[in-house]
């Protein structure tokens, strides 16, 4: 953390760490637990220092069992706490799937809102870090398809801070997806302004304005989309980039306003495309903006294959080139 006149330079991971610390300081009922989140500070150091500062009853390690972590979080939330749990990696959240789908997502509805579950499931998520198998899954579609969950993914350092604090304060369970490849990205932020800042859950933002087509992305795909827009600008094409941020609830308004204006859209996501969040965005954009569209809504996603080994991931991940190729397919000759 280096401070300047205007602000502080933070990594994405440190922004998350600061959000946790700030919220733990503000609210006694917030507890953090998971695998290796205590003295080690988490394998990505997002919980670094929390045990030392808040004590081992506020930030602690559990036995190695994800369903156990999730189920215990449900009970703790039932009894007045606000658990923030870490699943060590995306694919290691799968053992907790039943607890997530059958209880986390359904308990408030089941009890007619009598039982609220204000808990956060933090998941270091997606690829691009040369990780081995099971450490790179883009699992957002499983959660986004499950009614009752709120699903968000920050793509910038300020959003990492703001969205996480908001997620912890949220009255309903939030799946909080942290793009691993962004953990070490840095940005200069004005923490005081952020602390006073506005809400993000449910709202998309225009990350870069443009006129000719809309790129719709979230999480790890946002920086790639921005680089594509940059490259397109050099070629004289003006692309608008939307950072979805909040997958559920989805901000139809912001997205559709943009597409209605540009008349063209490409959805970008790392996950395999089939039956995914990208499918949803494409489906709803064409449903809602059909008569504004000059071309079909296209998608640039991961292939429908298991996440590849490190030396092959470059071929898998949505790239600037692949995005620009796809933009080229948007039937410009007819425009």
């Amino acid at each position: 953390m280096t401070a300047t006149a205007t602000g502080t330079t933070l990594t994405f991971a440190k922004a998350l760490n600061t959000a946790l610390a700030d919220e733990m300081a503000a609210d006694q009922t917030v507890v953090v637990f998971g695998e290796d989140v205590g003295p080690l500070g988490g394998v990505f150091r997002v919980t670094d220092g929390l045990t030392a500062r808040f004590g081992e009853e506020r930030c602690f390690d559990t036995p190695l069992a994800e369903s156990g972590i999730m189920g215990m979080a449900v009970g703790m939330a039932m009894n007045g706490l606000r658990p923030v749990v870490e699943m060590q990696f995306d694919a290691f959240a799968y053992p907790a799937f039943e607890q997530v789908v059958s209880h986390v997502a359904k308990m408030p509805n089941r009890t007619r809102g009598k039982v609220k579950l204000p808990l956060v499931i933090r998941i270091p998520y997606a690829g691009g870090i040369g990780g081995v198998e099971h450490h790179c899954d883009s699992s957002e579609s499983y959660y986004a398809h499950t009614p009752g969950l709120t699903v968000v993914s920050p793509a910038t350092v300020p959003d990492a801070y703001t969205l996480l604090r908001e997620a912890i304060r949220h009255p309903d369970p939030v799946v909080f997806l942290e793009p691993k490849k962004l953990y070490w990205s840095t940005e200069e932020v004005d923490l005081e302004a952020l602390r006073a800042g506005a809400a993000g859950i449910g709202r998309a933002v225009v990350a870069r304005p443009g006129a000719d087509a809309t790129l719709i992305a979230y999480g790890p795909a946002v920086p790639t989309a921005l680089r594509a827009a940059e490259a397109a600008a050099a070629e004289g094409r003006s692309l608008e980039v939307i950072d979805v941020r909040s997958i559920v609830p989805f901000d139809d308004e912001t997205v559709c306003a943009s597409v209605r204006r540009t008349g063209r859209a490409v959805v970008i996501a790392e996950a395999p495309g089939f039956a995914s969040v990208a499918s949803e965005i494409a489906a709803r954009v064409q449903e809602r903006c059909f008569h504004s569209l000059a071309a079909p809504v296209l998608r640039v996603t991961g292939f429908d294959i298991p996440y590849p080994a490190p030396k092959l991931e470059q071929y898998y991940l949505p790239s600037v080139d692949r995005i620009l190729d796809t933009v080229d397919e948007l039937q410009w000759e007819e425009a």
Partner: protein, 388 residues
């Protein structure tokens, strides 16, 4: 949040070689302490005679009389619910007929500040804890997933996905411990559910965090059609306890006195900071899994008949009659009380329920999402067109 309750979890890491030696040394003590007694604890035998047990004194007569009343009501609740299924008022009912002693003891061993985590089969226990019968039966009537407010009587939802609720119980206990509350949690499941991974994780978490949880397994010999021996080949289910570092105990699940003795001891121990225990009640599911099941496909009538003389009501009746505590007058009084509950069930369930389609969207999130507002509006419009 107090940090003063309970012993600190993280004392400095000792020398690992010491640990190796220590553990070996401590082991013999641990084993005799954590392994169940050689036979299930029984305090009143099937003929109604007191069986002496060094560790568990017999509860006093007045207590047993009061709980006998609950047994009678419990049996009546099971019968009435079955009748309501036949009449089409309930979609389905997983009866605890034969297991009423477990049901009654589960409610009796808890205090007001304690929590109960029941399953679909524990309707009688839920009602014995004070939850309104009609609210309890909402799930099975089919108008909502759960009909009561879990906070009102500190009874969680009747869980369907097996063993999952044990972890919620652990979480409630953990929060209680962190908040310094004087709360014990009773976590209930069946023999079949002990095979699920969540059972394992729940017991381990409770032990490692030293939480006030009493795990109460009603071993009724069957998981739907699957007999216990295809579920586990352990000497008993209570032998699982030592693998988590907690005591395990077996108890005759048709002996209300023994159940009260063992469960109360477990609850007291947990409340005093002694950590979790595992109690296995040895009992029998006298009826089919639910009314949709056909038990003749997988067990003989002789097997069922053999359990009839072990009925939990008969033996307590014999014992209390022998003591002249249970009189004919009392029996009539209890039967009337049971009839009152049954009548309440009938009346409540015979009344037509109104469901509100808007409820579909009301509780999914604290605030409806834009998407749900849209979908609700669409449904509303659809329905208004229909009624035109």
């Amino acid at each position: 949040m107090t940090t003063s309750t309970g012993k600190p979890r993280r004392d400095p890491v000792g020398h690992p070689l010491d640990h190796m030696a220590q553990t070996a040394a401590a082991q013999d003590g641990a084993e005799s302490f954590m392994l169940p007694q050689a036979a299930p604890v029984q305090l009143v035998d099937p003929d109604g005679r007191h069986v002496h047990n060094d560790m568990y004194p017999l509860p006093d007569g007045q207590t047993l009389l009061a709980e006998y009343r609950q047994l009678v009501i419990g049996r009546r609740v099971n019968e009435q619910a079955n009748a309501l299924v036949r009449q089409g008022r309930l979609a389905v009912y997983p009866s605890s007929h034969g297991q009423e002693a477990c049901q009654v003891a589960a409610a009796a061993c808890l205090q007001g500040q304690d929590w109960m985590f029941p399953t679909y089969r524990d309707t009688v226990a839920v009602m014995a804890r004070g939850v309104d019968p009609i609210q309890t039966l909402t799930l099975l009537r089919g108008d909502w997933h759960s009909g009561y407010d879990p906070y009102e009587h500190k009874v969680s939802i009747q869980a369907t996905p097996l063993a999952t609720q044990l972890l919620h119980a652990v979480g409630v206990a953990h929060a209680a411990k962190l908040k310094g509350e004087d709360t014990v949690v009773l976590a209930m499941c069946g023999d079949g559910a002990t095979s699920e991974g969540d059972f394992h994780e729940a017991l381990n978490f409770a032990a490692v965090f030293h939480l006030p949880v009493v795990f109460f397994v009603q071993n009724n010999q069957y998981a739907i059609s699957v007999p216990l021996k295809h579920q586990s080949v352990a000497p008993s289910l209570a032998h699982k306890a030592i693998g988590y570092g907690m005591p395990g105990e077996r108890v005759d699940g048709n002996d209300l006195a023994a159940l009260l003795g063992v469960l109360l001891k477990g609850v007291d121990r947990a409340r005093a900071g002694g950590g979790p225990v595992l109690v296995e009640a040895f009992t029998y599911r006298m009826q089919s899994h639910t009314n949709a099941d056909d038990a003749t496909r997988y067990r003989t009538d002789e097997e069922v008949q053999a359990w009839l003389p072990r009925d939990p009501i008969i033996r307590l009746r014999s014992y209390l009659t022998g003591l002249h505590l249970l009189t004919e007058q009392k029996e009539e009084e209890f039967a009337r009380d049971a009839e009152t509950v049954a009548a309440r069930m009938r009346d409540g369930l015979n009344a037509e329920v109104q469901v509100d389609p808007e409820d579909l969207f009301r509780f999914v999130y604290t605030e409806k999402t834009a998407q749900l507002r849209e979908q609700a509006a669409k449904l509303r419009e659809e329905l208004s067109r229909e009624t035109v």
